[in-house]
């Protein structure tokens, strides 16, 4: 029988990266909201939340949860996959429940539960949209995130998807998932390239900066922009059929909520919850945008 059902306190550790950019901010918000809700619903559950700004700090957090907070389960969104693999494995080896969110560990079979978005799909869905909506010979520019494995996965999938379509990728620079940086990179793209038909901004925060740079240059009519993740501001504009922002690709920060809820379920009920939950990336279009719009989320 589940521990919490017998009245025993269960401590669940939650370790996520801190809110350093839009997507993570949204994820932090969803995590905290879900924790509030779960605590109210299940008084026997106790949560320990730690946010880390660097990979080393996250390993420290997990160690601290083990050493001082006697956690029974760990929900972790690894800052980076490789370095978190051994520390999470030692949690597992100590007999704890492990839920891994979003970024998989580099070794299979450690986690009990895996809830993730699909980075490859994220890039591919966007790429396919470009392929379908641009003529051969069209020129596009790409803004990448912070150099990381997941950024590589997304970009590789995107390039693979547009490959052979005759679409030319003029430039790919890092915008670091940051509005300001994306703004200046886009400004420079606009100075450099006379013809740009579309922009893959790869992230909604960057899309905001990109749109601003385009409107400053007065070239709104020439190109459209696709971001990613499903920020409410962007979804709203898609709902309103903004010609500059035809679609968006989801990568919902709410996936942390799913992970937390399923993990909690494991301790309060007899539901078997092992397995992998992959939350695919779907295309937000004006038609379906309403279902992706969360007006209360800060993201």
């Amino acid at each position: 029988a589940p521990a919490a059902a017998q009245g025993k306190k269960v401590v669940i550790g939650v370790s996520i990266p801190s809110a350093t950019h839009g997507f993570m901010g949204g994820l932090n918000w969803h995590a905290q909201e879900t924790l509030k809700r779960l605590k109210a619903t299940y008084p026997n559950l106790e949560f320990v939340l730690a946010t880390a700004g660097a990979v080393g700090k996250q390993v420290n957090d997990i160690e601290d949860m083990m050493a001082t907070r006697n956690i029974d389960a760990l929900v972790v969104l690894p800052f980076e996959s490789e370095p978190l693999t051994s520390p999470v494995k030692s949690v597992k080896d100590a007999g704890k429940w492990v839920t891994v969110v979003d970024r998989g560990l580099s070794q299979a079979g450690i986690e009990d539960l895996y809830v993730a978005g699909d980075n490859t799909a994220f890039g591919r869905v966007a790429g396919e949209y470009f392929r379908a909506n641009l003529k051969p010979g069209a020129k596009i520019v790409v803004l990448r995130g912070i150099p990381t494995t997941l950024d590589n996965e997304r970009v590789d999938a995107f390039t693979a998807a547009v490959k052979g379509s005759g679409i030319e990728i003029l430039d790919m620079q890092h915008g670091n998932w940051n509005r300001d940086k994306a703004f200046s990179v886009m400004q420079d793209y606009l100075s450099k390239h006379q013809q740009i038909d579309a922009v893959w901004a790869a992230d909604d925060d960057m899309a905001i900066g990109v749109l601003e740079a385009i409107s400053q240059a007065g070239r709104q009519k020439e190109m459209w922009v696709v971001g990613g993740a499903g920020m409410k501001e962007i979804v709203k504009r898609i709902m309103n059929k903004d010609p500059q922002l035809p679609v968006d690709v989801t990568y919902p920060p709410a996936l942390i909520s799913a992970a937390l809820e399923i993990t909690a379920l494991r301790f309060v009920s007899d539901t078997p919850v092992y397995g992998r939950f992959i939350i695919g990336s779907t295309l937000i279009t004006p038609d379906n945008a309403a279902q992706f719009f969360f007006p209360d989320s800060p993201f």
Partner: protein, 331 residues
């Protein structure tokens, strides 16, 4: 030799080569940029680069005074984010009662300057009254401001009301006589800073304190007050920078202004101000800021082997720019 005293003054001195170093580096960069890309010298690109430099630029001018008087401020980036956050929240809150219009924008500006002043005052008082090393004080407040804005934003982004933004936008995007506002304001700040450093008591005292605070004390300089003032001035300039920054994207978040402090300090040092204090060169700081912006711009305009190596080239150019400047060892 005794006649030296009677010799006429030579009031005008040619700037030495070392003073011209950063300028030389700047010119080289401009030439490089023009060679790499035809649009580099287009008015659009020049406006972009200058306007972008404005935020860091204004902050760096203030930082010049702080560093010249022997201080340091690591908190400016977080401070900018914090001010932007407070300003936007305040404007959104005032919107229902004041409506979109000039008064609301002015209120926002006053709030930005006020918060900047208070933030600078906090740093300054901790440095002068509590006598803590500026490095530690501002490392502490850096964390504090940053986390406060993240908390205000609930981890996300604080966005200015859409209508207000539309109204406020021209403060960044439009200008006077075809020159964008941020550029004009930056130019005004730079000129005022240069004049203040060279031709007012405040500047002279900053240099004296940085050169030897004991001598300044013995010379009836109110050392603590000048130090405090330098932090307050910097706070105000961060506030001013924020006023120009907010209309650009209309938002603030925990990642706003990240690493601006490093960029501002680097600009100051590249410009020839001594990190240990005692010698400040505001126009050098302006050159330093432009060098840093240009490096980014050129890296974006040029097609490099790999964008991963941007940092290498950036770092290399920074070091080179300074090598040009210092002929001889005595760092």
């Amino acid at each position: 030799m005794s006649d030296a005293a009677a010799r006429p003054l030579n009031g005008f001195r040619l700037p030495s080569l070392s003073a011209l170093g950063p300028l030389l580096a700047l010119i080289l960069l401009v030439v490089l940029g023009a060679l790499l890309n035809d649009n580099f010298l287009s008015s659009g690109n020049i406006t972009n680069v200058l306007a972008r430099s404005a935020f860091i630029g204004m902050i760096a001018v203030g930082m010049t005074f702080v560093i010249t008087s022997g201080g340091l401020d690591l908190s400016v980036g977080s401070m900018a984010a914090f001010i932007a956050g407070v300003m936007i929240l305040a404007m959104n809150a005032l919107l229902p009662s004041m409506g979109v219009g000039v008064p609301l924008v002015l209120a926002g500006m006053v709030i930005a300057l006020g918060v900047g002043l208070l933030a600078g005052l906090t740093n300054g008082l901790l440095v002068t009254r509590a006598g803590i090393e500026p490095f530690i004080v501002t490392l502490g407040t850096m964390g504090i401001f940053r986390s406060l804005v993240t908390w205000l934003a609930d981890g996300g982004t604080i966005s200015l009301d859409f209508a207000v933004r539309q109204f406020y936008r021209p403060v960044y995007y439009s200008g006077l006589f075809g020159i964008a506002w941020p550029i004009l304001v930056f130019a005004a700040v730079a000129i005022a800073g240069q004049v203040a450093m060279r031709h007012t008591r405040f500047g002279r005292y900053c240099e004296a304190i940085g050169s030897n605070d004991k001598v300044a004390l013995y010379s009836a300089v109110n050392v603590d007050r000048i130090r405090l003032l330098s932090y307050v001035l910097l706070g105000l300039l961060v506030g001013l920078a924020t006023i120009m920054y907010v209309p650009r994207l209309g938002s603030a978040s925990g990642s706003t202004g990240m690493l601006w402090e490093l960029e501002a300090i680097a600009a100051v040092i590249i410009g020839g101000t001594a990190l240990k204090g005692g010698y400040g060169r505001v126009w050098g700081t302006v050159v330093g800021v432009l060098i840093l912006s240009l490096i980014d711009n050129i890296l974006n305009l040029a097609d490099l082997v790999s964008p991963y190596l941007n940092g290498t080239i950036q770092g290399g150019i920074i070091v080179l720019a300074v090598v040009l400047q210092r002929g001889k060892s005595s760092a």
